[in-house]
């Protein structure tokens, strides 16, 4: 067992984990953040993306111990039913949700884009969102949602 401390969604945790536990396992199975999804386990689909120190990472490709002393954000931290985060609201308003399985990852990547680009271009959006597969093909909806939020911010 390895002892690690990390901060997830604004709360500190001290955990004993196995050496072969991935960050996704720590988040889902130990801490119950079920918004993190596994679609492939090989870093292809991007559904397990979380923000680690503000940057998107595939939590299936990061070992649990590598998250030591890191700050992790998942969708659970963004908003709740009565107080949606602007990105969550925009995703709902533009009809981005189809099967919903990739939505948590797409929202986190969108958050990263919006926090790092004041006025993201279509190219910026596509560059980052390439990392999240959506088989329902909601990509243009995601783009529209990000665009709408960037307009509000301005």
């Amino acid at each position: 067992m390895i002892n690690i401390s990390l901060r997830v969604n604004g709360r500190n945790y001290e955990l004993n984990i196995e050496g072969n536990e991935r960050l996704i396992d720590v988040l889902r199975d130990r801490l119950g953040f079920k918004s993190v999804k596994e679609g492939c386990g090989s870093g292809d689909c991007g559904l397990c993306i979380v923000l680690m120190n503000g940057k998107p990472v595939h939590s299936c490709m990061v070992m649990g111990f590598q998250a030591r002393e890191k700050e992790i954000t998942t969708v659970e931290h963004l908003g709740d039913e009565d107080n949606l985060h602007p990105i969550q609201k925009a995703f709902t308003d533009v009809g981005a949700v189809q099967c919903g399985y990739c939505i948590p990852a797409a929202i986190l990547v969108s958050k990263h884009i919006l926090e790092n680009h004041e006025n993201p271009t279509q190219n910026d959006i596509r560059w980052f969102l390439r990392s999240v597969l959506c088989r329902c093909g909601s990509y243009l909806r995601f783009e529209k949602a990000i665009y709408e939020v960037s307009q509000q911010v301005r």
Binding site: T92, V97, C99, G100, Y139
Partner: protein
């Protein structure tokens, strides 16, 4: 006529005339909130406490005799709780979704790569994975057949006990030989499409929980809970009430989740739960899922088409070979749909078509969004473009001379009674500025040496809902709680299409209430009866009628009670804005909630079952002639592409997608379905190909089987809906779920041909295929 019937009849008349209240308005999906909040709603999110794992030992051979299975080494491992083979199945070893040709666990033979041979149960997933390799299976490899044309040869290896030919589907209209004699021009081409994967991003998953009373509850990701339920009952050999199946939120369906693998994964979990009396999680890895999940069928289609010199089609002959893999699944139905649509949406006086559904040792193919229509339309629509080129005609001009208009007869001699195709076609040409763009790109190509551009079009018709594929019924159970909340429950499922929101919209419309007062509950086999399968884009169309039936019954009951209070006639009441009021004096009314309360006080039940069954369709199996479908969706797709002729890389710049939705129930949902289907179809056109090497799947993951990302998405997809009402759909709605995936292969191929001067008859349009075509064309 009883009072209730009278009100229903009058209400129907009102409904025809009135403006819609919610239908066709932009509303958010009923279930989108849970998704954006990342709520634990999918099967894998629901596991808790002490549970165990089960996974299948799979065949490394595409065709082999099983001589011996020795689980001893696996059983000796510490965390392993059991190994099951076919001999341990208490009920029947039958996991075919419609046809019982497929065992859950192989008996004496495996027929495709990855076929399940045994199950390993263990307390950790790591131990199970390790134990899979320790189950010793002795195989004797057999000769393999991997091509449907080879499989039809008399000396071909037999995949099953029966012959390899499963279905010979025929269309015989007019005299095709005479048609060819009269023709001025004949084109003959062979088209090929590959096995493709629906690739829902949530893999197959089931969670089985044994209960104290001996019942097993199975929560799972699927399209058809009752198919899963019926098979699991049969496999476990238990009384039906000992199994309960609940559909969790489902991370994509696209067809395969209506086929065999959702049965497999649920049966594995339930068998393991029966053996261990512990909750069991059964989940496919991505590799397992891509290997064994039912595929889109690979097709070889030979088209011979004849026309007069002024471009009138006179004869069409098609031979379709459909590779359904080692088990039939839905192959016998897919070949029918493909063959029915083999001429594309054109009137051809003489048609002869033979569709063959054939077994091979490839991985099993079944239902995938479009169900044979994308392959048939690819072959028909590229053929039309080649014909136009031979006739030195603009592709649009040739199509205009032959499209199905009111009064036209389809290949099955079914008379078309609406102008949906004409309208879609005209709009697509106008909105894409077809003629102008075509000229511009031709000018551009003269100037540009290495980058070429092109524009292409394809048209479709799509026989709606099940038609010949089964009983086209649905039921929807609706009740109103005392607080006024309306609860809808049905065996129809949501897996991304948004169709369940349509049921809520239809209900809200009929009862004049807001969508937020409606709750849709998860399908549960212990709470509702089967509503038929959630396939064939039929939930809005057929399920919507059942939802309407239920809502009308409730409306009639509410109207009677409200009428007494308001001292009015029930048929004079209007339902709108959460109120029930007298139509001609709107100030005299009651809150919806108040009337619900009055019903409860008066003992008027507010729980009903809505039902609808579409008229049975008729056609002659010897000639294919008749009316196989109750109505048709029409559509047109224009694609604009850019290709680098040094690398062979294609980029789709823009799509103009026009579809006849009959009546748009949920515009925001439809927009997502059109865009999403176009993008999925773009993947089919450019990159998607499940490759078998002598029966072995060599692209079992998302880095070798490539689906579109934002990088491949066209910069702009212009989605346009037209409304030419259908005969059976709710409020005139037509099927839309599958339809946008049908045309991209054809439309993009035709656009590429405009850019490089040559049509490629095989998908996907990979760089090497494009470069070869350019070289051969020089």
């Amino acid at each position: 006529m009883s009072g209730e019937e009278e009100i229903l009849r009058r209400f129907s008349a009102i409904e025809q005339a009135r403006e819609f209240y919610i239908v066709g308005k932009k509303v958010a999906r009923v279930d989108s909130l849970e998704a954006v909040l990342g709520k634990p709603i999918y099967t894998g999110d629901l596991v808790t406490g002490d549970y165990v794992f089960v996974r299948a030992v799979r065949s490394p051979y595409p065709h082999a005799k099983i001589k011996k299975i020795n689980p001893e080494k696996a059983l000796n491992m510490k965390e392993i709780l059991g190994v099951l083979t076919h001999a341990d199945i208490p009920g029947e070893n039958d996991a075919g979704s419609l046809i019982s040709d497929r065992p859950l666990l192989a008996v004496d033979k495996v027929r495709h790569y990855g076929e399940a041979v045994a199950l390993v149960i263990g307390s950790s997933i790591e131990s199970v994975d390790e134990a899979l390799a320790k189950v010793e299976v002795e195989y004797h490899p057999l000769p393999v057949v991997t091509n449907p044309i080879d499989a039809l040869k008399p000396d071909a290896p037999r995949v099953q006990e029966r012959g390899n030919l499963i279905t010979h589907f025929k269309i015989r209209k007019g005299d095709v030989e005479k048609g060819f004699e009269k023709a001025d021009i004949i084109v003959e081409n062979t088209y090929r499409t590959q096995f493709m994967d629906g690739m829902p991003l949530e893999t197959e998953v089931a969670y089985a929980i044994p209960e104290e009373n001996g019942r097993i509850t199975c929560i799972s990701s699927m399209q058809n809970p009752f198919d899963v339920y019926n098979k699991v009952v049969k496999i476990l050999g238990l009384p039906a009430e000992k199994i309960r199946v609940i559909q969790a939120a489902t991370g994509g369906g696209f067809g395969p989740k209506s086929d065999e693998t959702p049965i497999d994964v649920a049966a594995y979990a339930c068998l393991a739960a029966l053996k261990t009396r512990k909750p069991v999680l059964s989940v496919f890895t991505r590799e397992e899922s891509v290997t064994v999940q039912c595929k889109r069928h690979a097709f070889i289609i030979e088209n011979k088409t004849a026309a007069t010199e002024d471009g009138k089609l006179v004869a069409w002959k098609s031979t379709l070979y459909e590779d359904t893999g080692a088990y039939i699944s839905k192959g016998h139905l897919v070949i029918a749909r493909a063959t029915f649509h083999c001429t594309g949406p054109y009137e051809v006086p003489n048609v002869w078509a033979d569709g063959y559904c054939v077994l091979t040792n490839n991985t099993m193919a079944g239902s995938t969004r479009g169900f044979g229509a994308p392959q048939a339309h690819f072959a028909a629509e590229v053929q039309m473009d080649i014909l136009a080129k031979k006739l030195r005609m603009d592709p649009v001009e040739l199509r205009a001379k032959n499209i199905l208009i009111p009064g036209s007869l389809t290949a099955t001699s079914q008379k078309i009674d609406d102008s949906g195709l004409e309208v879609c076609f005209r709009k697509a040409v106008e909105e894409s500025a077809w003629h102008q763009r075509r000229r511009e790109y031709e000018e551009f190509n003269k100037r540009s040496m290495y980058v070429k551009r092109g524009i292409g079009i394809a048209l479709l018709y799509h026989g709606n809902t099940l038609g010949p594929e089964g009983e086209d019924f649905a039921n929807v159970h609706t009740r109103i709680e005392r607080d006024g909340t309306v609860i809808i429950q049905t065996g129809l499922t949501e897996y991304g299409t948004g169709a369940i929101t349509s049921l809520a919209i239809v209900t809200a419309e009929t009862l004049g209430i807001s969508l937020k007062n409606i709750r849709v509950e998860r399908p549960d086999t212990s709470a509702v009866t089967s509503a038929g399968p959630t396939v064939a884009s039929r939930t809005t169309v057929i399920g919507g009628q059942a939802a309407l039936d239920a809502a009308k019954q409730l409306r009639s009951r509410l109207a009677e009670v409200a009428a007494q209070v308001l001292e009015a006639k029930p048929e004079d009441l209007e339902f709108k804005d959460n109120r029930i009021y007298i139509r001609d004096s709107p100030e005299r009314g009651l809150d919806f909630k108040h009337v619900v309360e009055k019903c409860y006080e008066a003992g008027v039940g507010l729980e009903v079952e809505g039902y609808y069954i579409a008229p049975a369709t008729k056609w002659d199996p010897e000639t294919g002639q008749g009316e196989p479908y109750n109505q048709y969706t029409f559509g047109a797709l224009v694609s604009e592409v850019e290709v680098d002729i040094l690398t062979g890389m294609v980029k789709v710049l823009k799509m103009t997608a026009v579809y006849d939705a009959g009546k748009v129930i949920n515009p925001l949902g439809l927009l997502a379905v059109i865009e999403g289907g176009s993008i999925m179809g773009l993947g089919h056109a450019l990159t998607e190909e499940l490759i078998h090497e002598n029966g072995i799947v060599v692209t079992p993951n998302l880095h070798t089987y490539l689906i579109p990302t934002t990088a491949e998405t066209p910069l702009n997809i212009q989605s346009i809906a037209v409304e030419s009402p259908g005969r059976i759909g709710v409020f005139g709605a037509k099927a839309m779920g599958e339809i946008p995936v049908v045309l991209p292969m054809a439309s993009i191929t035709n656009a590429l041909a405009h850019a490089i001067g040559v049509h490629i008859n095989e998908t996907p349009l990979k760089p090497e295929r494009i470069l070869k075509a350019i070289q051969q064309n020089v």
